[in-house]
Symmetry: C2
């Protein structure tokens, strides 16, 4: 009925002052039992819900932390978010997320939004970068944690993964299996100027003169991975092993292989990255590199929410070493054969299309 139900109305009904109502709401100081009861009753009856905007305005604090990610659709990001939310809730904080879809304009917009909301802390877990970002953050005293981008600075700390080490493990493994012609599938953001990940792969390959690599990029989705694999298959000599920038794209890639009647790992090996749950459930299960999203989530919360700095944070940067996971999507390179290139699509499928 009343779209404007406020402290005062409650106070009036409970025959106390607004200040007292505020007190019972924050169960602060000692409010007499009977008084508290009256207030509670009034709150119930009026279905009063405190205005959070007014609260954080008056209090100056926000009890919510912000999180910006590139693509919530990818479980990698979601898993981190999930952990952050769990930790935050345990400390009675809320977390509000924003997607950038790998667009740096969106990144800036999201940063602005978060600053506007006066979040108590901000986690930026994105692949793209925008120079104007630090500019934007300057002057706001919001504690920030960056994942995988940005440099430490006042009030901003960094978590990064030793992506290079992870890729090296993958490349070395494939090499040991006899693979020489490699493919790389990334998402569009790798087309950016200095893409760490792309470069890492190229470097790892360059370190071994026997190897060659061809890359394809598409959206960071199942469909994108599929398209990228299609591109790799459609031009030049097909690689015997394909390294995917993450598990989602790898699963997409696997499907495209299936459509062509190409079997993994018999005909082509495929690797993922991240070790999301899906990588165990797809077929064949993915050889991948584990990145501990839960640890990352915990680190973020520990850093952003006051009153619980765990010891792991000693400096302004933490580097995480990824772990290689061998599963079923990789195998020895087939010797002399390009046979799979001539198999017509769906030839090997025996079930109805």
């Amino acid at each position: 009925m009343e779209q404007t139900m406020n402290l005062e109305e409650v106070a009036k009904r409970a025959k106390v002052s607004a200040a007292t109502v505020s007190r019972v709401l924050n169960n602060a100081s000692v409010v007499k039992g009977s008084t508290r009861a009256r207030v509670m009753k009034a709150i119930e009856e009026l279905r009063y819900h405190p205005n959070l905007h007014a609260r954080s305005l008056a209090g100056g604090k926000s009890r919510t932390i912000g999180m910006i990610v590139s693509n919530m659709e990818n479980p990698f990001f979601f898993d981190i978010y999930k952990t952050v939310e769990l930790d935050a809730h345990a400390r009675r904080f809320e977390v509000v997320v924003a997607n950038t879809d790998y667009r740096s304009e969106q990144l800036v917009a999201s940063i602005r939004l978060m600053i506007g909301r006066r979040v108590a802390g901000l986690a930026v877990v994105v692949s793209e970068m925008e120079p104007a970002l630090i500019e934007e953050l300057t002057g706001s005293d919001i504690p920030v944690v960056f994942y995988d981008v940005g440099a430490p600075r006042h009030n901003i700390t960094n978590i990064r993964v030793n992506y290079r080490r992870g890729v090296e493990k993958v490349v070395d493994y494939l090499h040991s299996l006899g693979h020489r012609r490699l493919g790389f599938i990334g998402h569009h953001s790798i087309l950016g100027p200095i893409n760490e990940r792309m470069k890492t792969v190229l470097d790892a390959v360059a370190a071994n003169p026997a190897l060659e690599v061809r890359a394809a990029a598409d959206a960071d989705t199942l469909e994108g991975g599929r398209q990228a694999m299609r591109a790799l298959l459609g031009s030049g000599e097909a690689p015997t092993a394909v390294i995917c920038v993450n598990d989602v794209m790898a699963v997409g890639a696997l499907r495209e292989l299936r459509e062509h009647g190409i079997q993994a790992p018999r005909d082509i090996s495929v690797t993922g990255f991240d070790n999301i749950k899906l990588s165990e459930f797809c077929y064949p299960a993915l050889t991948t590199v584990h990145i501990p999203r839960d640890r990352i989530g915990h680190l973020i919360c520990d850093r952003l929410i006051p009153g619980s700095d765990r010891p792991e944070w000693n400096g302004d940067e933490i580097v995480i070493d990824p772990e290689f996971m061998v599963r079923d999507s990789t195998g020895p390179a087939r010797q002399v054969q390009h046979a799979h290139r001539s198999v017509s699509p769906r030839l090997s499928r025996s079930w109805p299309g």
Copy 2:
């Protein structure tokens, strides 16, 4: 540097009043060009970001809509969210989400949170229900859209899927393929008192005396689907077809079959529900029921954001008819054979474990 950068500071620097700064910020009324320029400059230099809390407090409005879902991890919910966000952004609204993890206590907490934030509209896309909900919502004049639960009421409208019809199509199809012993895999929330979905399956089966069904429930995740399938396989006579409450659990179920060396659809047929992207990318591709998440998302936005009621909303309730999608995970029931029950785990796997 200043953690307290406000209108007044900007006004001071630009040598105008706070009111004027507010005007340029909202590009309202006619501010003289030169004045506007001065203000803009001051804003830039001071890196001023308006306090959104103060803004919605003073303005009384919020320009953000809330969305509550059961499980963002499940692409079904995510897809809806994505569409809502897209539409919202197009109308310069923000959307903030909350997860309930199928816990009705969380549902209530989330509703409270959203009311506290004075969202401009609220979408409740959850499977669980909580009687206290309507109570909670009463008196708040926030427009609400429910998906799949709740009854129309003042300011609250409904979107529902004719789940029954969808299940009937699945059951009929399986029946026509010769299946008689059915399995049903649902998530834990189906254990609730009157679960529509579970009941629907039982009804559909009851309608055909030749059919029998056994159910198993677990978490709404890949792992949950796997466990549920394990349970189904581990007790009594194995079903020849398993209906899963959604695609995610179906994919989990498929994996468990693989571990047992049971092939789908040769040995057991499996169906999903929702038709998420993954259902095309898993192996075998899932026979499922399509639920148009994008349409649901559009409907939600049209209803919640003022100034764009599309014609589709004629009453307080919209019912969506799902569409049956046959793919590769279903096939004819094998005649006389329980052979797969005796196949030892992984027997048929030829790749390394």
